[in-house]
């Protein structure tokens, strides 16, 4: 069969496939734009799926034939472009939307956290140990904080959490809440992303940022406790801390997963192990972002409110910790337990 004959015989198939793809793409674009200005001029019949698959498969066959027989380059190029477009449209994922979103937070995220238990534990220790140790150290010797922060910063912190401040955490006007909301989003989610991304350096980056943040927070907590501002400080941090501290630890755990994949890839190549780890830990990152958004909202509008009695804040904060813990432990488990 000569190339011309080939083109003559199968050209109609390619044309039909091309038209069908155009119809599909147009349909997709219309959905994306939401409201078509005018009703579509020619109601391009939605291409029949079975027919489309048939057309696609024969175009693939023709491409293989054309390549094997070394047909003219423009012919194979046309077929290659055609099959590539069809491949993209046929194999694209289409399970996005509200259901997928709900599934992410109802099932996938808590499950991913449990699947990464070991990493969460290590990240928790990497964050918690410096936090507690430095907390105790500065509690016994408040001067110790000066090794971590300079004197001006310490004085600022003391003013913010001291009894004189009329809203906790920062000095506040009414719309300052909004400013701080934005600030917390930028700052905290940025820290979490750093904890995750730096994990690719064999996990060392994650451990560093976890420890660093643990040291900063721990020394501050210990210092303020020693200075007698404990009640103000803890009532400020307890509620959003439930989300924020957990999220930072989870981000670190996701980073450790990346580093571990490179360090001990198991029976995969390092690259395959890294790709798998990245895909699985991305679920954690989604959850982390959501938790930090919640934390930023709470921190800006609730934690800093002076008019709420500390006792109420402690109660609400305690409930939040319980909620977060039980969400991560129990949410998304199958209803009936498997035996054995």
């Amino acid at each position: 069969m000569t190339p011309l004959q080939f083109e003559r015989d199968y050209g109609p198939v390619w044309d039909e496939l091309e038209a069908a793809l155009k119809g599909l793409a147009a349909g997709k674009r219309r959905w994306f734009k939401r409201q078509p200005k005018e009703p579509p001029a020619e109601p391009a019949a939605p291409p029949d799926a079975a027919r489309l698959a048939l057309l696609y498969r024969s175009a693939c066959e023709h491409l293989a034939l054309a390549r094997a027989r070394a047909y003219p380059a423009h012919l194979t190029a046309r077929l290659a472009a055609l099959t590539q477009r069809a491949h993209e449209l046929i194999y694209r994922r289409s399970d996005y939307g509200a259901a997928r979103f709900a599934r992410l937070f109802l099932i996938d995220f808590p499950q991913a956290v449990r699947a990464h238990q070991g990493y969460v534990l290590v990240a928790g220790l990497g964050f918690g140990l410096p936090l507690v140790l430095l907390g105790i150290a500065t509690w016994f010797d408040p001067g110790f904080i000066l090794t971590m922060h300079d004197a001006t910063t310490v004085r600022n912190y003391e003013q913010m959490y001291g009894p004189a401040a009329h809203s906790i955490g920062r000095e506040r006007g009414a719309d300052t809440d909004w400013m701080m909301f934005g600030f917390y989003i930028r700052n905290n989610i940025g820290i979490a992303f750093q904890c995750f991304a730096s994990g690719i350096f064999l996990g060392l980056g994650s451990l560093f940022f976890l420890a660093y943040n643990g040291i900063t927070a721990g020394s501050l907590a210990g210092y303020l406790t020693a200075r007698g501002h404990g009640e103000t400080f803890y009532s400020f941090v307890i509620t959003h801390g439930a989300f924020e501290l957990t999220a930072i630890v989870l981000a670190g755990a996701a980073g450790l997963r990346l580093g571990h994949a490179l360090l001990a890839p198991g029976r995969r190549t390092r690259r395959a192990a890294l790709e798998l780890a990245a895909a699985e830990s991305a679920v954690l990152v989604y959850g982390v972002v959501a938790m930090l958004l919640i934390a930023a909202g709470i921190e800006a509008f609730w934690s800093s409110a002076r008019w709420v009695a500390p006792a109420v804040k402690f109660a609400v904060g305690g409930v939040c910790w319980l909620l977060v813990a039980s969400y991560l432990v129990w949410q998304g488990r199958p209803r009936t337990k498997l035996e054995g």
Binding site: Q5, A73, R92, W178, M180, F181, L274, E275, A278, V285
Partner: protein, 237 residues
């Protein structure tokens, strides 16, 4: 077949067809990055002017916007149809999965968060080195996410065959010889006439002349005749 000299990346589809992707290298992606950076900062500056009128509420919005442009700008654009940031779009680049499929949200998030790793130790040194070292031009984020940045438009080296009177070759041609003649004819529109003739002379025996030619090699006539052979080979009689 010998290993290709260029950086084509082949992805195989379930149908057994090899898709050829053209990964984009440091220069194209560098330009795209500069364009994107310019857009981001222009946006921030423009908006900060507007928001400063709204005092603190405005600066809250500004912080959020800063965060979004810092981390999520590429993710947002890569998930739109076309899967490319404006900078990449301007250079005809797009982000795809290793399989040639459109990039998924998780992959886009991973590759853009790991920018932080590519950025180290400063000014994207790691990312740049990766681009220079790897034939598929993947930076660390691309490796982890399993993505590629590819050129959307292929440079068209071959056009349809140039028109000529069909002519039977002087002797039977092997499959490889046929392919070579057809490929040569497909490039007729892109090569200069002199070069085309020069190449045609190499194949002079096919059109029934000795390569040295009698009385002298005639590139124009050989070109015309060889184009005719190509036409004959693709099936015109």
């Amino acid at each position: 077949m010998n290993a290709p000299l260029d950086t084509l990346y082949t992805a195989e589809t379930p149908e057994g067809v090899a898709l050829e992707l053209r990964p984009a290298g440091l220069v194209a992606r560098g330009y795209a990055f500069v364009i994107d950076a310019a857009i981001r900062y222009a946006l921030l500056i423009a908006v900060s002017g507007m928001l400063s009128a709204m005092s603190r509420f405005g600066s809250g919005v500004f912080f959020i916007l800063f965060f979004v442009t810092e981390w999520l700008y590429p993710v947002l654009f890569e998930l739109l149809p076309g899967s490319a940031t404006p900078g990449k779009r301007a250079l005809n680049l797009r982000v795809v999965m290793d399989s040639g499929l459109p990039v998924t949200p998780a992959a886009s998030l991973v590759r853009n968060l790991l920018r932080a790793a590519d950025f180290l130790p400063a000014m994207y040194v790691f990312g740049g080195l990766m681009l220079l070292l790897r034939p598929d031009f993947k930076r660390i984020g691309d490796l982890a996410a399993g993505t590629l940045v590819v050129h959307t438009a292929a440079a068209g080296l071959h056009g349809p065959l140039a028109d000529a009177e069909p002519l039977a070759p002087a002797r039977p041609l092997s499959a490889r010889e046929q392919a070579a003649v057809i490929a040569w004819a497909g490039r007729a529109t892109r090569l200069t006439e002199a070069r085309l003739g020069e190449l045609a002379l190499l194949a002079a025996p096919i059109v029934g002349m000795s390569a040295t030619g009698e009385p002298a090699p005639n590139p124009e006539r050989t070109t015309k005749q060889l184009l005719g052979v190509a036409q004959w080979l693709v099936g015109r009689r």
